[in-house]
């Protein structure tokens, strides 16, 4: 992944719900409220994957969503990051024994950062972003 200069200034975030119970959504929204205010660091929620750098994926990927998730992932311009929010994406969480799921997110997308928790607290999400930035710096150094 070739890192452009604009990457270390501000990461625009696009939220993608693949069948989650909306708990993580509320936590993501809580994260971008003035109390935690990631906008100071340039983290902004954007409306279309075409403007995004980071893809925030929540929920276990249901069968019907799998193909759409791949298409949205491809529509995010390079370089990009994928963050899986909540345990559903990692191990199915409360939907662990469902018949209608296409497995955790890393079966569908290459995931960079996992933020466990059902739902993860805003501090956990921001810590996840910090982990993502560290990973970017490692990548940039390696480049």
């Amino acid at each position: 992944m070739k890192l452009t200069k604009s990457f270390n200034r501000s990461l625009w975030v696009f939220h993608l719900n693949t069948g989650s119970c909306n708990g993580c959504e509320i936590e993501i929204v809580a994260t971008i409220t003035p109390r935690y205010d990631p906008e100071r660091f340039g983290m902004k929620l954007v409306g279309s994957p075409k403007h995004a750098d980071v893809l925030l994926v929540t929920g276990p990927v249901t069968k019907k969503m799998a193909q759409k998730v791949r298409r949205v992932y491809e529509q995010v311009p390079d370089p990009k990051l994928v963050m899986c929010i909540g345990t559903c994406g990692q191990s199915g969480g409360v939907f662990y024994d469902s018949y209608n799921l296409d497995g955790p997110i890393d079966q569908v997308l290459p995931v960079d950062v996992y933020v466990p928790g059902c739902p993860p607290r805003p501090e956990a999400i921001i810590f996840g972003v910090v982990k993502a930035l560290e990973k970017l710096e490692r990548l940039e150094a390696a480049q």
């Binding site: 069968k63 191990s91 199915g92 939907f95 024994d97 018949y99 209608n100 799921l101 497995g103």
Partner: protein
């Protein structure tokens, strides 16, 4: 909307009793306190046959056009129970109450008339019941599948607890997906299951949905 007068839950039940008489198999009011001051909130439960469903809803529409919430489904072993949950609002605070029409369909004859001609919004709920319980809603304008993926096997009704429900091999254990096998033993050994402690003996028997 013409300003129909307020009818207390008891009046509603008397109205239905006078109108349908024996058709009403069971009618009762449950009461519970709402909000900090425990203000009385009422639920009206009426059980009737499938033939009386449409006239009953039509009658409620005459009294006051109800807000259709959802059709709740319940697999009682040899019967499937459908609960048509509607709420009636009078525009005053705490002035609303829920009216629920319960039907019991024997598994041999799982058909119910549609109410989309009265309340178009009920279509989604009816399609869901059709899909997940195998009920055939007669006269449904659009009977396609709604939630299940297209390649889901026919004849399998996920919400049924009998043999047509989900087969164990269809379940995908997400936590087991490429879980590393060669993990070192955890430093603290796991607790032995203490006899008589329900949680320790593993999962409880599967409980039903919104039981009556």
């Amino acid at each position: 909307m013409s300003e129909t007068p307020y009818r207390s839950p008891q009046e509603i039940i008397d109205l239905y009793k006078t109108e349908f008489g024996a058709g009403i198999l069971d009618a009762r009011i449950t009461e519970r306190g709402e909000g900090v001051h425990r203000k009385k909130g009422y639920n009206i439960w009426i059980r009737l046959d499938r033939e009386l469903l449409k006239p009953a809803i039509k009658k409620l529409m005459d009294i006051r056009f109800p807000h259709f919430a959802v059709i709740a489904g319940n697999d009682l072993g040899d019967e499937i129970e459908l609960l048509y949950i509607l709420s009636v609002f009078y525009g005053t605070q705490f002035g609303e109450y829920m009216v629920t029409f319960g039907l019991r369909l024997p598994k041999s004859d799982l058909t119910v008339p549609t109410i989309t001609d009265l309340i178009p919004g009920a279509l989604l709920s009816e399609r869901e019941k059709q899909e997940f319980f195998g009920i055939t809603v007669t006269g449904i304008p659009d009977g396609r599948r709604l939630f299940l993926p297209d390649d889901f096997p026919q004849g399998v009704y996920p919400w049924r607890k009998d043999e047509t429900g989900i087969k164990p091999e269809m379940v995908r254990e997400l936590w087991a997906v490429n879980r590393p096998k060669d993990r070192p033993a955890p430093p603290v050994p796991e607790k032995k299951p203490v006899p008589g402690d329900p949680v320790a003996e593993g999962k409880e028997k599967k409980t039903g949905g919104a039981s009556e």
